[in-house]
């Protein structure tokens, strides 16, 4: 793994990237209150992959994350990371987690560089005293996400995109081969989204395995190699082109999405049977169609109405 262009100081025990993999076999997770959040889920992911975990709220996306990080004990089935049981993989710092912005207390008295340094804690002795190598890796991580000039800022003083990048820097400093991102594009402007995606592509090129939970459908085909569609059960899993189809998405999202159909006589006056469908969830696009100033189109199925 050549993350650092400059020579690293002695004592940097970079985890070799090859072999980052996730394997879920018939995973079932039942919570204490008897609710089965994930049932019989199976999928395999290989190194050098960006995979989107797509589903509605409450579909078990976060439960899958929890199972991968070992927070919940499977009622049946198993999770293996890089061929290892979860607990073993965690103790080797294989998994790095980038939290949702809502899960963080932005008033917490820590600076940008302190957060990045937390990524190194798992590599330190039990007193968590940073070595020269740890500081070097934090510097590198901040540089890579373009946050070096903000390193002395308290995290609450950052913009939405910068906040995301701080936690990306932490996962880089942690040197996890598997990186989990929880809704990374919520509350982030397009520019930052592009920057994050570029960084994820670089990480993919160095053999990392990146799993992203998202309901931001539009960006998925742009940069995700694979997609897992989930609604308590795995509805479909595989290469984006095969899985991320209109039929599958409608199955995964049911009546939750808004849908705009443009086709036939609405769109043109010849016999072309093709149509345009716009699927969207909470960010509701306004769709215009027509010459010059078109008429706004209403969604076919507003979310409050179940589709027939």
């Amino acid at each position: 793994m050549n993350l650092h262009p400059q020579p690293a100081p002695a004592g940097t025990d970079a985890v070799a990237a090859p072999g980052a993999s996730i394997s879920l076999r018939n995973l079932t997770v039942t919570y204490n209150n008897g609710f089965t959040a994930v049932q019989d889920a199976s999928f395999e992911l290989d190194p050098g992959t960006i995979c989107a975990l797509v589903g509605v709220n409450g579909s078990g996306k976060s439960t899958v994350f929890k199972a991968i990080m070992g927070f919940v004990r499977p009622a049946a089935g198993e999770v293996r990371l890089c061929g290892l049981p979860v607990a073993e993989a965690i103790s080797r710092n294989i998994v790095a987690y980038v939290p949702q912005s809502e899960d963080i207390d932005w008033n917490f008295p820590v600076l940008v560089e302190d957060v990045a340094m937390m990524g190194r804690y798992g590599h330190m002795n039990f007193l968590r005293m940073p070595s020269r190598a740890d500081r070097y890796k934090v510097d590198q991580a901040l540089e890579r996400v373009g946050m070096t000039e903000f390193r002395k800022r308290q995290i609450g003083e950052l913009s939405g995109g910068q906040k995301k990048r701080v936690f990306l820097a932490r996962s880089l400093a942690q040197e996890g081969r598997i990186i989990l991102l929880d809704e990374p594009f919520t509350g982030v402007d397009v520019k930052t989204e592009t920057a994050i995606i570029a960084l994820l592509r670089e990480l993919r090129a160095t053999g990392h395995l990146i799993l992203i939970s998202t309901h931001n459908l539009g960006s998925v085909p742009d940069f995700c190699d694979r997609v897992v569609l989930i609604n308590r059960k795995v509805l479909a899993a595989g290469p984006t082109a095969q899985v991320f189809t209109q039929a599958n998405l409608e199955r995964a999202f049911g009546g939750v999405l808004r849908r705009f159909n443009l086709g036939g006589e609405q769109l043109h006056d010849d016999e072309d049977p093709r149509g345009v469908t716009v699927l969207t969830d909470d960010e509701r696009p306004l769709v215009f169609y027509g010459e010059g100033k078109g008429q706004p189109l209403a969604a076919d199925n507003p979310p409050d109405k179940k589709p027939s």
């Binding site: 990080m69 103790s91 710092n93 790095a96 939290p99 963080i104 008295p109 804690y121 798992g122």
Partner: protein
């Protein structure tokens, strides 16, 4: 004049009171750095009131007060869990209900069976009359807590900041939380001796809150907080010599004065700094 100011240092009981107060104040301040960040401040208050019957009972039975306090603390935690699980009451109502119930029980116990320790001592503390055995108990609690916190402060910080990350690097988050609350309970017991049940809450909130206004780094926050806690407690015990008692009141008053100073004059997060920034922003626009 100067000879007069040095008088408290000539009495063994005053020296003892000042050093024990400083120790307890410092340790409570260490914990306050964490407590106030998680919105758990009032938990310290609930805990302090709940252990009163335990302390009273311990004195009646002649067992170490720490044992009684620990038992009452368990009873409080169990009682809250029990009521919450079997009713649809909200958590704050349950906490309020259970801790005042136990506090009242403590007062009743101490009035029915008058002991060497009065109700007033438990509620208001009496560090000036602390017995040598109690000093030993307080010192052990404080030393152990300080030791554990010095070793584990970073792990606790990560746990409180981002639990999922803490887990993903292999920390035992549940164990760390239990450790924290055990230390908190123990220190609440110790602080009971110094400032009494009513004012314990100040010891585990105010120094941390003051330091929070002065720094954006957690390490510095802890250092400042401990310095405030220990300093005000030492000074409070000293001043109380001249005021004849009310040590707890003096300590908490000093802590509050420090807080007000920070609230107004803190270089970045103070009221005046914010006002200055606003005026500058307005000036830049015109």
């Amino acid at each position: 004049m100067i000879a007069e100011l040095a008088v408290p240092f000539e009495y063994g009981y005053m020296l003892k009171a000042m050093w024990v107060s400083a120790l307890v104040g410092g340790v409570c301040a260490f914990l306050s750095a964490y407590l106030m960040l998680k919105g758990w401040s009032l938990m310290g208050d609930a805990l302090a009131h709940s252990i009163v019957p335990g302390v009273a009972g311990a004195y009646i039975l002649g067992v170490p007060f720490a044992a009684g306090a620990f038992f009452a603390g368990l009873l409080a935690a169990g009682g809250m869990a029990f009521v919450k699980a079997r009713s649809r009451l909200r958590e704050d109502a349950v906490i309020g209900l259970v801790f005042t119930a136990l506090f009242a029980l403590g007062l009743v116990m101490a009035s029915i069976w008058p002991t060497s320790v009065s109700v007033q001592t438990i509620v208001l503390g009496n560090i000036l009359a602390i017995s040598d055995e109690d000093v030993v108990q307080v010192a052990i609690i404080a030393a152990v807590t300080l030791g554990v916190l010095s070793l584990k402060w970073k792990d606790l910080m990560v746990t409180f900041f981002d639990e999922n990350h803490a887990r993903s690097m292999g920390l035992n988050v549940d164990w760390l939380k239990i450790l924290f609350f055990t230390l908190l309970s123990a220190c609440t017991v110790a602080a009971l001796q110094t400032v009494g049940a009513c004012l314990v809450i100040a010891m585990v909130v105010t120094p941390g809150a003051t330091a929070y206004l002065l720094t954006d780094r957690f390490g510095r926050l802890i250092v400042l907080s401990v310095a405030f806690g220990a300093g005000t407690s030492f000074a409070g015990a000293y001043i109380s010599y001249f005021l004849d008692g009310a040590t707890g009141g003096v300590i908490v008053t000093l802590q509050t004065l420090l807080f007000i100073a920070a609230y107004l004059f803190a270089p970045r997060h103070g009221v005046l700094a914010a006002r200055r920034r606003r005026i500058e922003a307005l000036g830049a626009r015109t």
